[in-house]
Amino acid sequence: MLLRLCLALFLLIPTPVFANEVPGEVTVNEGFEDSTYETGLTVSTGSIYCDEQDRYGTTGCSLGIGSSTLFEFSEDVYEVGFIVGAVNNSYDVKYYYSDGTDETIQKSGQDNSEGPPWANMVDSFYKSFTDYNNDEANTDKFITKFEVNVSDPTVFDTLYWQYIDESTITTTTTTTTIPPAVPDNATSVSVNYNGEGIDFSWEYTNGNVNAHSFHINYSYDNSTWTRVIIDDTSARTFHLKSGYVQTGTFYWSFSVCGDLDNGESCTDSDSNNFETTQYVAPTTTVYVAPPPPPPPPPPTPQEIIVDVVVEGVDKTYTQADVNDGTIERDQERIDNESEFGCFMTNAQIERGDCFIIIEEVEVFEDDIIEEEIIITEKEVIVEEIKENVDVIILEDDVDVLDPPKEEVFEDAVVEFEELPIEFEIIEFDLEDIAPEIVVEIPIQDEIEEEIIDEEIEVEVQEVLDEPIQEVVSEDTPGTTLPRVEDKEPIELTEEEVAVEVAEIDEVIVIELEIASEEEIEEFTEEELVEYEEAKEEAIQEYVQDLTNEEASEVLEEVNDIGVQNLDQATEEIQEVVQAVVEEAIADVAELTEEQVEVVAEVLQVEAEDVAIIAESVKDDEVIAEAVEEYVERAVENTDVENYTLADVVTEISYESFIDNPIETFVDFNNLGDITVANIGDDMTQDQKEKAQEVVVPVILTRIASMAAFMFRRS
């Protein structure tokens, strides 16, 4: 009875039919609330109609149409639904399908007798032609478009359509894992225990997968296993020695294994256990490897020969240092630092790299005899200097006021020769060397005590504070005193010159096609001109591409050797240096102060004169030519001492005078701009002094001769 009641209830209660969920299904609703339609829908006519909202079965606004209207979809729509209301006359709806067929549904005019809001004056349409909604009648057709043919004002609303978005469908890939290949099982596996060892035997024939090894696993507790791997696949027996057999339950298994390295696996051919009745203690032979031979002794270093404390720093010298003279040079540096305050070798000191302080200078001797005749003021100045000056600092090893240079220098040499320190030479056998053995020879303090006279330093400092050089240069114009900045010519040995030239070669990296002398001799005049022009052009390009820093580096290398020593360099190097000098003068405004000083040193002028030269080059042909030919002429005058740009200017002036004497004296430019105050301002200091050296003696000679003549007549 109860069963019948349950059955009746089951039949009475309607059970909803749930459609299967369609993967990737997209439902688009178009309510025609505004003139922008949903993506994928194209409507041929009609407009949004909001005057009769929620009437004729619509929701909100609707699409007002009055004639045939086509609704077209861009997707493969399989289901569509909509309502058509307020149709007084008969009409039809025509569906178009993807297979080229169509279907028309005829409708009669709707009843408008019910009055507002005419909720029933509406027809609902629904069409589905796919399997997705589980409708058995559905086919795999798609609705491409439909057409509503009306002849009176009609509202169209509540449109929806469905299609499949393939891109949202998740593809499920089923991966079937192929089990690893396994060789066939061994057969007739037998294990025999005879109270000592255990004998295994088996039979095996290769099948689809070849055996690569046989595995025998055994255990006495069924948890900790020992594996015997038999790589010889032709073996069919194995004897487990009695030494590995213990008393207890012996668990074993036999496996045939394929190529394990390539993913193949093993079979479990057979397994079992039995009791062993006798325990034979395994004889364990522990292999004790002999101790490794001691590592070969490291190559015997040629140290430690000398360990010296230099300026508080422990410095170790090797035999190589002794051989190449490093120790001697370091000793010279130590001595010279104590003597002159310069950590330099004797060679560097002699070359003039150090500012040397020399005590006592005699002032004004033979050089100013002529001036004493006519300028008595100088004597006063000289006396003032004598009174005030005890020590004069010489820059770059140059004498001021004609000092007794040689004597002073000889004293210095004597100091060098008397090495205050004797190095203790300690030689070690390798085995006896102990790292902690260090012989410290305190040097610095002793040297300072022996050499440096602190009182002299104080006096020097006091003199330094006085503007001595200003007095010499400003208060005694016209004197023939040598300049403080005058430098001794760089005296280098041939080897040193070669080294310096090589350094210049390294700095100047330029690719030039250099013709041999023979080739040049065979050149015609035109070819020679072309060759020279090509070379010059290449040099100019190279120099143009140089940065200021690179150009300065080139000039620094030139300064190391001295321009006049460039005769040891190739002609091309000389030309490059010349071009770099010209470029530096042309771009002097872009140079840093240090770079200007480098250029000044090349030209043998003062730093402030570089700007004057750069300005003069613009409107003075003689100076421009002098700059262009400076390096060439300096090289030609290697033997001339203190050959500077002023000498080149004078040479070119003379050549110009010889060529055209009148023009030299009548070539007046901007004569109106010349005032008494600025006469000579456009001359370099070097040029002024060269002129003084010439003009003053000439005038004095003339005056003296006139005086003598007058004296004789009287």
Binding site: S616, M683, R702
Partner: protein
């Protein structure tokens, strides 16, 4: 007139020769100088020489 001019030329040459060493010095000075100093020295040399030669008779009187 021509005789006077010829006489003056001879005298001027003599005076110039007398100034040879001075002129050499001034020429050297001019060639050693550069720029405005050279121009001023050259102009002064030429001008002074011209005045010197033009005033021979005046100075002898």
């Amino acid at each position: 007139m021509i005789k006077k001019i010829g006489s003056w030329i001879v005298t001027a040459i003599k005076e110039t020769l007398n100034l040879s060493w001075t002129l050499v010095g001034l020429v050297i000075a001019t060639l050693t100088l550069t720029g405005t100093a050279q121009q001023v020295t050259g102009l002064a040399t030429v001008t002074t020489l011209a005045i010197w030669l033009l005033t021979i008779s005046f100075r002898k009187d």
